[in-house]
């Protein structure tokens, strides 16, 4: 009985907690559970969710990606620069950041898979390099419509309307980034559950040596995971630029940690105990709800981090206490 209760709370505790938080906020503020507010929450988490999916993939192969946040920063300013500085068409504006994401992923896997630097350290170094590049590239200034350069001349271009729609538009009343996010979550969930590539990534992360001795090409699989992580971070960067309508410097630095928090909260969803895309999504949702609800309750902005941290501790405690008991 006691055992069953523990099992139940381990599996559904995270979802029940999200439900309780929802009830709490909707009791205290009647505006909380409205359609507009819910879409607001989802839109606010959509970018972080993309970054978090990328990190989930790298964690799935038992890696780590600290460079995702800086990749967001880089791709945000580059996509803005493509329009404002070079007046490129939409397709280029989207393709170039994604190529950059792939390159970051390849750089990470070169360091981790080939040179065999531990993932945490390699991506830490890459994080510094990428954020240095993006600040050097922009000389530390945000990129906005017809911005003024230091020599007094003006930038030729403006942000494309079609581009801005990606971040601000609605389809059937649903914000477009939310639609993209839901598609990405479902798509990646199906990828991990039903495809050979997904299964191979999970197996590689579960035990690389056993996977290798079973005939998997583990180096290739890990490389692909880091590249995927880079691509998802790049999509996050594009969405960010489209959402705010400019290329903000250091846009992604806070996102790295928020995304990580979402991923680790996700470990506890459905008692997965491992990185999983659905969990990551609910982790991001929980964080979004908390920030939104506390803002409505006029909790001081800085204090929300205390709550976020506490929730993360709670989720991790549930996961790791369980793991310690069920030592395989």
């Amino acid at each position: 009985m006691k055992h069953q209760l523990a099992q139940f709370s381990y599996r559904y505790g995270a979802l029940i907690f999200i439900g309780l938080v929802l009830i709490f906020f909707s009791v205290y503020n009647t505006h909380f559970l409205t359609y507009n507010n819910i879409t607001d929450i989802l839109r606010s988490i959509s970018i972080v969710t993309f970054v978090a999916i990328g990190i989930t993939i790298s964690l799935t192969v038992d890696g780590f990606d600290l460079s995702a946040g800086s990749t967001v920063s880089l791709t945000t300013v580059v996509s803005a620069a493509m329009m404002v500085w070079y007046q490129m068409p939409l397709i280029v504006v989207i393709i170039v950041p994604i190529i950059l994401g792939i390159l970051v992923g390849l750089l990470n896997s070169l360091l981790i898979v080939k040179i065999r630097i531990p993932d945490l350290l390699a991506t830490l170094a890459v994080m510094y390099i990428i954020s240095g590049i993006h600040r050097t590239y922009t000389k530390g200034y945000a990129i906005y419509n017809n911005m003024q350069f230091q020599d007094g001349t003006k930038a030729p271009g403006t942000m494309l309307d079609s581009f801005l729609w990606i971040g601000q538009g609605r389809l059937l009343g649903i914000p477009f980034p939310v639609i993209l996010m839901i598609l990405a979550v479902i798509g990646m969930h199906l990828f991990f559950k039903y495809t050979r590539g997904g299964r191979q990534m999970i197996m590689t992360g579960s035990n690389e040596e056993a996977a290798r001795l079973s005939g998997l090409r583990v180096n290739r699989i890990r490389t692909l995971a880091y590249v995927a992580s880079g691509i998802f971070a790049a999509i996050g960067g594009i969405l960010f630029a489209a959402r705010v309508g400019s290329g903000q410097v250091d846009a992604g630095s806070s996102m790295q940690m928020d995304a990580l928090a979402a991923v680790f909260v996700g470990y506890s969803v459905f008692g997965a105990g491992r990185p999983n895309v659905i969990g990551t999504f609910f982790g991001a949702v929980l964080m979004g709800i908390l920030v939104n609800g506390m803002t409505m309750l006029n909790v001081q902005y800085y204090a929300t981090d205390i709550i976020k941290g506490a929730v993360l501790v709670l989720a991790l405690a549930v996961t790791f206490v369980h793991r310690a008991r069920q030592k395989v």
Binding site: T195, R199, M203, S206, N207, E209, L213, S214, G215
Partner: protein, 509 residues
Amino acid sequence: MSNSAASTRGSLQMTGIFKSFANVPALQDVAFQVNSGEIHALLGANGAGKSTLMKILSGAYSADQGSITIDGQPVVIDSPAAAKRAGIQCVYQEVDTSLIPQLSVAENIVLHRITASGGSPILNWKSLYSEAEDILKRLGFAIDARKQVSELSLAEKQLVLIARVMAEKARFVILDEPTAPLSIEEAERLFTIMQELKAQGIGVIFISHRLPEIFRVCDRITVMRDGKRVSTLPTPETNASEVVHSMLGRAFEEEYPKVFAEIGEPLLTVSHLAAGRHVQDVSLEVCSGEIVAVVGLVGAGKTELSKLLFGAEAAERGTIELNGKRVRARTPQQAIKAGIVLVPEERRKEGILVKESVLHNLSLPMLQKITSLGIISGRSERKHGDGLIGALGIKTASDRQLTGYLSGGNQQKVAIGKWMETNADLYILDEPTKGVDIGAKRDIFKVIGGLAQQGKGILYLTCEFEEALGLADRILVMCDGRIIKSFAYGAASHQDLLYYASAGREELV
């Protein structure tokens, strides 16, 4: 020894010990007694309960029922610290778990002075080193007390642990398979030390699988089977075949159901294969339907050989041919494609994925076959997996069970089973019965026999000579990276194999 005075004075007694794990009884009404100044062997197949019993004695587990007395006085052993206070010390087989590699030999020997609470908080290095050196000298160990433990060999590490036991003034010492990783000379030295401990009035409990050494050094032998004590006899009153019979509950021949398959054309031909120190020059041949055992002591190079053949490590010289075609596998993936598969020694680390389900483990090498357009067909995966679970008799609650929760034998069946439908020609099995209980062992032997009957070639690497003698059509003895002797089925004895595996002197033939 048989009077009651000896059994209470200077003796440690365990009576009526019961222990269960998750309602599965591991020990049932076990009694065990060891005297001061005695070397007492504790024998049993894997899963017989001897390690559980010793873990209770050393405080790692607590018994559900039963009592422990020393010199007739009841003692409560509820933690490793309590066991040490009672004078019971254990040298575990995995020496590295008990040593701190960054510290010196001396610090490791007198570790209790560093970890103990009370006393001066400042370490007196001079007395610490002199105490450790005294103990080393008394035991006659030639180890530099100032050397860092991480630089020591496995045998030396074990000596450090024995020295620690002396430093902590043990009255009863448990040696858990201490000779398994040792060379013959090192083992000899250990036996001398054991005699010395005995002479000092220490009661030694000796766990080993090697019968010859048990009969040489032990005063009494206790045999356990299925969580119960079967017998305790003075060594002169019993013999090896009787002991084996009580360990297994049946005779040797029943243990190894030898299959004579039709031996066909040469399948695998290895010539002058070499890589590093461990594989110096290996040539061998395996025919279809043939079970070839490669026996050797730990460190002979068997595992390295298996990794070379499987492409998991790179060969420096030599050629490998399968079905007359040259195999140049530089990754396991290429070897599998060529038709060579490996069941590796380190089952939990290399053979299976403990955190994944039985089903996913079984389908791992088969993913290509059960996917179309990159999508895994759940139906064929289940059909394939459940078929193997049935065919191999894998005991699991469901195919979704995490493989790590299965018993060692069933994990091994998964590790072998995943290759069964890959159309491999050559199966390399590296110590496939390590940590496998006796029932599952026979199942595994049957599976191997079945593979031979299908015309597969089997290369069976083991340091369990009995298995090689019981199963193989041909036995190759490996020593220091070379194959030095070959025996046909029935042509070799245990002693022959041990002789060649340890001495490795070809010219004495």
